[in-house]
């Protein structure tokens, strides 16, 4: 610090931009005097902050000299007597993608008991006396020991305190239960035999286990971490580790405060509502009571009145004195239609003053349904009309266009009607305006009540039958004229053995009529057909006979949407 001039510094604000200079951009004499002597918070614990090697290293790193000081630490060495490749024999192949893995250590390392040298000695001695087939393998030994240890842990968790030892009978059942659940793919013997063998091993190993268990004061044989057991000495014992954490308190934030006040407000509101409800129903009951009281008074007054009338001998209609019933009754049904139901227990419904039967005012469920249905229907119709309007004059010039919704059962297809007598003659030309539009007669014929299928580019449902041949004329790209056909019997080239084969065994019934193949373009057939019309029954029976591709081999360009199945063929 410069003793000559003591400058009072302004507080450094972390947000203020500061000029960045190099040391050589300021006067060197000034720099030395200007350096602040801060106490720098290192973050190292204070008793260690002054450690000799740390200070040396810090000095070296912040100092001007280019030396690097390192803090000495006991280094690691390569192990001299380790057969690394034998121990870590598994080969690793780096997958192309990043590894995703969620198995735990327990799942990845098999049987949790690892035999020790002591076990090894025992097992070797044990196996020595036995024939090769009757030797106990290390794996089996470990599994048996594992079952022992786990059973002991679950049956006698306080074994180290009360020194209980799980008897062998117990163990035996556990061992056989354990092995019965397992598969022995490498073992040629039947499972029962294998299990019996293993249980026999278990019997011999049990004593060994007991010895080892006793040697470790009836603690688990494998060393384990000391976890908390909630005893007083737990706390100071540095070997006790990984205690449970406690529930983290939620941090208080403004948002959370608001949240909880909102919750409280809501709760209060709800309670108040409940309170009001109770209050109101209480007053309602009070009113009811009053009403009953008054009703009784009226009744009694009437009775009196009647008596007086009888006494005085006045003969007139009683009704006029009982008017109070009328308006009361009339009002109710219109306001609460359901309320009318409650007196339904009465044997006879009271007649209405205007003579109409009560039911007349009731809304019938069926009526409602009908109305709803009607509305729905109207809605749909409205929408379809709208759609029709939108799609009118639609010409999509894109490649493989999303074709407009096809309306009507036939979408421009006309049946080859009787006038042609199934002769494969295209229909006479129509004006181009009615391309892809249902012909007027068609549109009128099935009006709009037909259920419609709205379909975009989804594949068409498999048309089950196309009973009648039909045609459509369209103008394609480049002004080409297309004639689309459908309902044709497939053109089968006679040498198409594959598709014939494919359907060869695909006959469901034996009694089906034999199907005769024919090529409609065959000139012979054509000539023949020109003279004789086909019998009608041939057409509906073709479904299995269609080519495998599922589409008639028409001139329809690829990718074009198939028209929906025709509805019932018009006339």
């Amino acid at each position: 610090m410069a003793p000559s001039r003591v400058v009072r510094q302004r507080k450094l604000n972390k947000g203020t931009p500061q000029v960045v200079l190099r040391e050589d951009q300021i006067e060197s004499t000034e720099y030395a005097s200007l350096q602040n002597q801060y106490h720098v918070e290192t973050g190292v614990e204070r008793s260690e902050e002054n450690e000799y090697h740390l200070q040396a290293a810090l000095k070296a790193s912040s100092g001007a000299k280019d030396e690097v000081k390192e803090i000495p630490a006991p280094p690691a060495q390569e192990s001299s007597n380790i057969k690394y490749d034998a121990l870590y024999a598994r080969q690793f192949h780096d997958p192309y993608t990043y590894i995703r893995f969620s198995n735990t250590v327990e799942e990845a390392s098999g049987c949790s008991y690892d035999m020790t040298t002591e076990d090894d000695d025992f097992l070797k001695a044990y196996n020595q006396k036995r024939s090769a087939a009757a030797k106990c393998s290390e794996d089996d030994f470990e599994k048996i020991m594992d079952v022992f240890e786990q059973t002991a842990q679950s049956q006698a968790p306080y074994a180290s305190v009360d020194n209980t030892l799980v008897p062998f009978e117990r163990m035996e059942s556990e061992v056989s239960k354990f092995f019965r659940r397992r598969e022995f793919p490498s073992d040629p013997l039947p499972r029962e035999v294998t299990v019996e063998k293993l249980v026999a091993f278990a019997k011999d190993i049990y004593d060994h286990w007991k010895d080892r268990r006793q040697a470790s004061c009836n603690n688990p044989i494998q060393p384990s971490l000391k976890l908390e057991i909630h005893q007083e000495n737990d706390d100071g014992d540095p070997y006790v580790c990984f205690r449970r954490r406690e529930v983290r308190p939620t941090r208080k934030t403004r948002a959370r405060d608001v949240q909880s006040t909102d919750k409280l407000k809501k709760l209060r509101r709800e309670i108040e509502q409940g309170f009001n409800l109770v209050n109101l129903s209480f007053s309602r009951e009070l009113t009811k009571r009053d009403m009953l009281k008054q009703g009784r008074e009226i009744f009694e007054s009437r009775a009196k009145f009647k008596l007086i009338k009888v006494k005085l001998g006045i003969k007139s209609e009683d009704e006029e004195y009982l008017i109070n019933q009328k308006p009361q009754r009339r009002k109710q049904p219109s306001d609460f239609p359901q309320m009318q139901r409650t007196p339904g227990t009465q044997i006879r419904l009271p007649g209405r003053s205007d003579g109409r039967p009560l039911e007349a005012d009731l809304v019938l469920l069926s009526d409602l349904h009908a109305k709803k249905e009607h509305n729905l229907q109207r809605d749909i119709e409205e929408k379809t009309r709208q759609h029709l309007k939108w799609n009118a004059n639609h010409i999509d010039l894109t490649r493989e266009p999303l074709s407009p919704v096809v309306y009507g059962p036939d979408a421009g297809f006309r049946p080859a009607t009787a006038q042609y007598q199934y002769l494969m003659t295209p229909p006479s030309s129509v004006t181009s305006e009615c391309f892809d539009q249902p012909s007027p007669s068609n549109a009128n014929a099935n009006e709009i009540l037909e259920p419609r299928t709205f379909r975009y580019s989804t594949p068409p449902e498999e048309d089950e039958q196309r009973s009648q041949p039909a045609y459509r004329r369209r103008i394609g790209r480049g002004g080409r004229l297309w004639i689309d056909r459908r309902g044709m019997s497939g053109i089968k080239s006679t040498d198409d053995g594959v598709s014939f084969d494919r359907w060869k065994y695909d006959q469901d019934d034996d009694d089906e009529q034999p199907v005769y193949e024919m090529d409609p373009y065959d000139t012979k057939a054509l000539r023949f057909r020109a003279t004789i019309p086909f019998p009608q029954h041939l057409y509906p029976q073709r479904p299995q006979h269609r080519p495998a591709a599922g589409s008639p081999p028409s001139a329809r360009p690829a990718g074009q949407q198939q028209p929906p199945p025709p509805a019932v063929a018009p006339t």
């Binding site: 302004r10 000029v19 614990e45 090697h53 200070q55 390392s109 060393p223 000495n233 406690e246 983290r248």
Partner: protein
């Protein structure tokens, strides 16, 4: 910090010096301060434990102002019995064991108000001592934690006998009971309570050390291809303290005292990489993210392993609230654990690292910098500023300082060239560092100056030179860095139910 301050107080203020006098090998007891030979010269050391070996009695010494990782078992000939020893004060039996470092610290270093003078004296001694090589082979050979065959009479602080298990065994050894008593001593207990409360909900670093844990308990560990020599205590099962060599499986980190068990385990273990999702991979290292709650065993094993090299790490509480980011290097055998850092799923103090460690066999190779960089890259993705949990270790401080310095100098030089201004907050934002860390680094490097009624940042020439040298070096040998584009990671979100750490 309060705890350490309290620890220091009484010793600084205590006017009466300890009793001094000559000792013999038989009278030297736990808690004594004696001159012990270290690296060829005598140093004040505290005796923390005594054991009998075949070759005679050995003393576990903590050297004045040396990190605990340099503590060692010392045979009697290295102790200067011709000089006075300081006896533990008899009226307060626990005091010596508690306050060893502070009284010593008082002598060489003084309080913070005059930091310059001790630094100068220290510098002298550093230079003179700098040349003496550290005889590590000798060091490691002598450090078996337990005596050989006949040395059953270990006087070490209840290393193998839990104090409450056998009471009569305890009064045989006065020192042991002292240490046990010290554990439950009142003022210390209070601090412990405070700290436990703090750690109950989060955090992994402690500023309190239990008495027993001042003595290294595992002597040697075989880990993969390497033999590791632990630096600090780690609460592995107590039986392992009697083993000369402990085996740790390189992949699942399970621990074995018996070589047969270890070999058997290796035959069954199928892990070849840390059991989690890989979130980063370049041609040099990979990073895995592992949830302490899901991989409890593996993460506990990792903590036990790292505790051997981290002094202030606490394993008092479980690993559930942490995520572990594990760095590995690949070869045909699998992903080898190089280092890791843990991170609280939700840190109340804004820490982005809880514990950070490069395993000793990979130290001084630039891996630490990668770990640190990765931690900041994650913070950048989260859009947060991060800082490592305190206290830092000496090595941690150096690594972080180096990382901070290099990155800040680089940015500041750029800013200097474009003649712009830069605030501390802006620097912090660019590096995802907290502004406190930026500020302290600037101060530590003496870059924050007050000139012409303005705060300015001045880059010292020697740092510029060093930076240029570093760049020059990188042209020939590029520095390994983390490529943020290869990180495939989204900040994990934990629903409220999993944020309560109770089981």
């Amino acid at each position: 910090m309060t705890s350490s301050a309290q620890k220091e107080e009484p010793t600084v203020g205590s006017p009466a010096p300890r009793q001094r006098g000559r000792a013999t090998i038989d009278t030297l007891s736990i808690g004594c301060l004696a001159m012990v030979e270290k690296d060829g010269r005598p140093r004040r050391a505290e005796i923390l434990s005594i054991k009998e070996t075949k070759s005679g009695r050995q003393f576990y010494c903590n050297f004045d102002n040396f990190n605990k990782r340099l503590d060692e078992w010392v045979p009697a000939p290295r102790i200067h019995f011709d000089q006075d020893v300081e006896w533990p004060s008899p009226e307060k039996p626990k005091e010596p064991s508690k306050k060893t470092i502070p009284p010593v610290a008082k002598k060489t270093t003084v309080t913070k108000k005059t930091p310059k003078r001790p630094a100068v004296t220290r510098e002298d001694s550093i230079i003179s001592e700098g040349e003496t090589p550290h005889p590590w082979t000798e060091f490691t050979e002598s450090q078996k934690a337990t005596p050989d065959a006949e040395g059953d009479i270990t006087l070490a602080l209840d290393l193998d006998a839990t104090p409450d298990a056998d009471d009569d065994a305890m009064d045989v050894d006065e020192a042991t009971s002292e240490a046990v008593a010290a554990k439950s001593q009142a003022p210390e207990q209070f601090n412990n309570e405070e700290e436990k409360k703090r750690l109950r909900h989060g955090g992994s670093m402690t500023q309190n050390q239990a008495e027993i844990s001042r003595i290294r308990n595992i002597s040697k560990v075989q880990f993969g291809k390497y033999d590791l020599f632990p630096w600090y205590f780690s609460p592995y099962p107590e039986v392992f303290t009697q083993e000369d060599l402990m085996y740790i499986c390189e992949f699942c980190l399970n621990y074995y005292g018996d070589v047969k068990s270890f070999t058997r385990h290796r035959q069954k273990c199928t892990l070849l990489h840390p059991p989690g999702n890989e979130i980063y991979r370049d041609d040099y290292v990979s990073f895995f993210e592992i949830d302490g709650r899901r991989q409890r065993t593996w993460c506990r094993n990792l903590c036990l392993l790292s505790k051997m090299f981290l002094d202030h790490k606490t394993l008092y509480y479980d690993v559930d609230p942490f995520l572990f980011y594990v760095m590995t290097s690949r070869d045909q055998n699998g992903h080898h654990l190089v280092g890791y850092f843990s991170k609280e799923k939700e840190s109340a103090d804004g820490y982005n690292v809880a514990c950070i460690l490069t395993l000793p066999q990979y130290q001084r190779k630039g891996y630490g910098r990668l770990l640190i960089q990765f931690s900041y890259e994650l913070s950048k993705i989260e859009g947060k500023l991060g800082s490592p949990e305190k206290p830092l270790s000496d090595l941690g401080l150096l690594s972080y300082r180096q990382y901070w310095t290099e990155n800040m100098i680089e940015i500041l030089l750029d800013i200097n060239e474009t003649e712009e201004k830069c605030s501390i907050d802006a620097l912090a934002g660019r590096l995802a560092m907290t502004s406190g860390d930026v500020e302290s680094t600037l101060q530590a490097l003496k870059m924050q100056v007050y000139l012409k009624a303005e705060h300015k940042i001045v880059i010292p020439t020697h740092l510029i030179r060093r930076h240029e040298a570093l760049r020059e070096k990188q042209k020939t040998k590029p520095k390994r860095t983390i490529n943020p584009e290869l990180i495939m990671w989204k900040p994990p979100v934990f629903p409220a139910s999993s944020r309560t750490w109770a089981w």
